[in-house]
């Protein structure tokens, strides 16, 4: 049980001391800004992900935590202690590097034992812990091998074992899955998750792959151009993005520009030129005044296709002729479990709709060039200010 689970079980709103704290951390190289005034708390036991496009500062943040970079401003705290002048070899965190950085001139066992030797752990104890760590990552049989005799996935496990054997407070992972091929990647995702459960310490992962982050992490910080765009659980980020950037970065989305034409305490209406003449209706209030410019984001799987008809389909709990659009199917991508439809709306906008193939004949329901109606629930659109 992680610390977080324990506290929640006790039902208290206890103040859990964050294990990692970034306080107004910035990193600049001359005039170039890598990290811009980032403040972030990470709770013990989390599997936290730093997600963002390349150049957003996520790796820099991780390296500052490891002590491999020095912040230009701000403080990094590990377990409440300011890491100010403390060099990387004295910090209670260990890192799995993107290239794994397995020492090529040592055997697997020697690699894993390296950190223990430095801590002056005696031989019998050391051997035991090395074997324990190798068993943990399922490399128990390969202790005497040299790194050039291992596959990429195996080398990664060596790097994991080497870092974990020192029982750090936090494990840092720099793009752990990017060098692996697709099938291996999915298997490793699951294994990392299992490892996290077993070992019970905090994991912090840096990745640009949002599928990865969504799948494994318990909380994600989305970064862009050196700052944090949004922090939340995977579902928070996916279903309730706070900005266009996050909505667009995580998963795919259909984004429509529009004007807020009606804003009441429990409902709002937005007119989007690309969806004319049918407005968008949501059953809650929206930030902003009437006539202000907003964006409407709708996920592809939240939209439904309907056969052509004279009247627009009815959407439950919405006024008539709201949350609908008319168009023509331009392209179908059959992916086996789902099909993705590219629909050209009457106003010239191309949208994406994804539809699970529930029955074995679903792929025949709609064809190329077919005229369709598109509809979505009132709860589906997310109205964003920026």
């Amino acid at each position: 049980m992680t610390a977080v689970d324990q506290v929640l079980a006790e039902g208290g709103k206890a103040t859990i001391k964050p294990i990692i704290s970034f306080r107004n951390v910035s990193k600049r190289w001359g005039s170039a800004v890598g990290v811009d005034n980032v403040s972030l708390d990470i709770e013990p036991g989390e599997f936290f992900a730093l997600l963002g496009p390349s150049g957003c500062g996520k790796t820099t943040l991780l390296r500052m935590l490891a002590g491999l970079e020095v912040p230009t401003e701000g403080h990094v705290l590990i377990d409440g202690q300011d890491m100010g002048d403390i060099p990387p070899n004295k910090r209670a965190v260990n890192m799995v590097f993107q290239s794994y950085a397995v020492f090529p001139h040592m055997t697997v066992a020697d690699n894993v034992a390296y950190g223990l030797k430095i801590d002056r752990v005696v031989q019998p104890e050391r051997d035991r812990r090395v074997q324990e760590a190798l068993d943990l990552v399922q490399l128990g049989q390969l202790a005497a091998r040299m790194p050039d005799q291992l596959s990429g996935g195996q080398r990664q496990r060596v790097a994991l074992a080497r870092a974990l054997v020192k029982k750090p407070k936090v494990l840092l992972l720099d793009e752990p899955l990017s060098a692996l091929d697709a099938k291996l990647r999915e298997a490793m995702r699951f294994e990392l998750s299992q490892l996290h459960q077993k070992v019970g310490i905090t994991f912090i992962m840096v990745t640009h792959d949002q599928d990865e982050a969504l799948a494994i992490a318990s909380r994600i910080a989305v970064m862009n151009k050196g700052s944090i765009a949004q922090i939340g659980t995977p579902s928070d980020l996916y279903e309730f993005p706070a900005s266009r950037f996050v909505a667009d970065f995580i998963g795919s989305v259909n984004m429509f520009e529009g004007t807020l034409i009606n804003d009441k305490p429990d409902e709002a209406t937005v007119a989007c030129p690309e969806l004319d003449p049918y407005p968008v209706h949501v059953p809650h209030a929206v930030l902003g005044q009437e006539t202000s410019s907003v964006w409407v984001a709708i996920r592809p799987e939240k939209m439904s296709l309907h056969k052509e008809a004279d009247a627009p389909p009815a959407v439950p709990e919405c006024p008539a002729a709201h949350n609908v659009a008319k168009g023509e199917i331009k392209e179908i991508s059959y992916l086996g479990d789902i099909s993705i439809f590219h629909v050209l709306l009457t106003n010239g906008r191309l949208i994406r709709i994804s539809r699970p193939n529930r029955s074995r004949w679903d792929q025949d329901s709609f064809g190329w060039g077919e005229r369709v109606w598109v509809s979505w629930d009132g709860s589906s659109p997310v109205v964003l200010q920026s």
Binding site: A66, G67, L68, P87, P88, N89, K90, V93, N94, M95, F97, Q98, S99, Y100, A101, V102, F103, P104, H105, Y114, G115, I118, D119, P147, D148, R155, A159, R162, A163, K166
Partner: protein
């Protein structure tokens, strides 16, 4: 119209013959003659009879000459060691320098290498002689110290005796280090540059200090380059002529000086030939040793 194969043949011969012919006639043949001469003996002032005798080699292995060989190997070895100690931090500094500075630093290290050996050695004479810069500075310091002493009321220091820095073994080793340092820095730099920096970071991350990282990770992985540097420094130092000639005293002779004497003054060409070949064997032995140590090892140093 020549056929394809005839054409190709012609092209091959045109490419192969000039260099091979040159190497055979103007390099291998002369060396072969030296080898032949080493088995000969002086008959008259200008005649040499290749009699197949081993007398020259026997003489070369006498304690006197063996001693000089040993001394040369020792001096060359000491030079190499000093170059390694001095040059390693320099190579390290260049590798970790920013992109902007690095080419300039490499240029600065290489520039003395491009300067004539004779000139570089000569420049040291002015530095090391009894009226040279070092003694000059020391004398100045000595006099200042003496003056300070009188100020305080103590007896002034005696006359300054200049240090004997030239025409001895110290000067030879110093001169050899001075001349060969760039030879050492470049291969070291190349080897360190190829090293995956994340290996150093991983070592630090796992708790090792800088010194430990240096000896456990950097040195083993840069070893091929280090050995290259050692060989590139040792071999020329072993066969050095100018430096011991200009900077050394009567007892700082190295093997090249002895060889020169046989040809220019003693007029004992067969003996000189024998000594030359022994030097060549020593050189080849050093290189073979290096090949032996780095056989079968793939190029490590890349974060695997």
């Amino acid at each position: 119209m020549a056929t394809r194969t005839q054409e190709r043949r012609l092209a091959f011969l045109a490419t192969a013959l000039p260099p091979i012919a040159w190497v055979v006639v103007f390099f291998l043949a002369p060396l072969a003659i030296v080898w032949a001469y080493s088995f000969g003996q002086n008959v008259s002032l200008t005649e040499v009879d290749i009699s197949g005798t081993f007398a020259n080699y026997a003489r070369a292995l006498q304690p006197l000459y063996l001693g000089i060989f040993a001394k040369s190997i020792f001096v060359a070895g000491l030079t190499t060691l000093l170059c390694l100690i001095v040059g390693f931090p320099v190579a390290l500094a260049i590798v970790f320098a920013s992109e902007r500075w690095r080419p300039w630093m490499l240029l600065l290290i290489m520039l003395p290498f491009w300067t004539n050996l004779l000139i570089r050695t000569y420049a040291l004479i002015a530095v090391l002689r009894t009226e040279g810069y070092v003694n000059f500075t020391l004398e100045w310091l000595w006099n200042q110290g003496s003056w300070l002493m009188t100020l305080v009321g103590l007896q002034p220091l005696g006359d300054f005796t200049p240090l004997q820095l030239l025409y001895n073994n110290f000067a030879v080793v110093g001169g050899l280090v001075y001349v060969h340092l760039p030879f050492m820095v470049l291969p070291l730099y190349a080897a360190l540059d190829r090293l995956d920096k994340s290996l150093i970071e991983a070592s630090l991350d796992l708790g090792a200090g800088h010194l430990r990282t240096l000896f456990s990770i950097v040195v083993p992985l840069a070893l091929p380059g280090i050995i290259s540097g050692i060989i590139i420094t040792f071999v020329p130092a072993l066969g050095a002529y100018l430096t011991p000639d200009l900077l050394g005293g009567p007892d700082s002779q190295m093997i090249a000086n002895v060889i020169e004497r046989q040809f220019k003054r003693a007029n004992d060409w067969p003996f000189g030939a024998a000594l030359s070949f022994l030097l060549m064997y020593a050189t080849f032995a050093a290189i073979a040793l290096r090949a032996y140590f780095s056989r079968g090892k793939p190029a490590p140093g890349h974060g695997v």
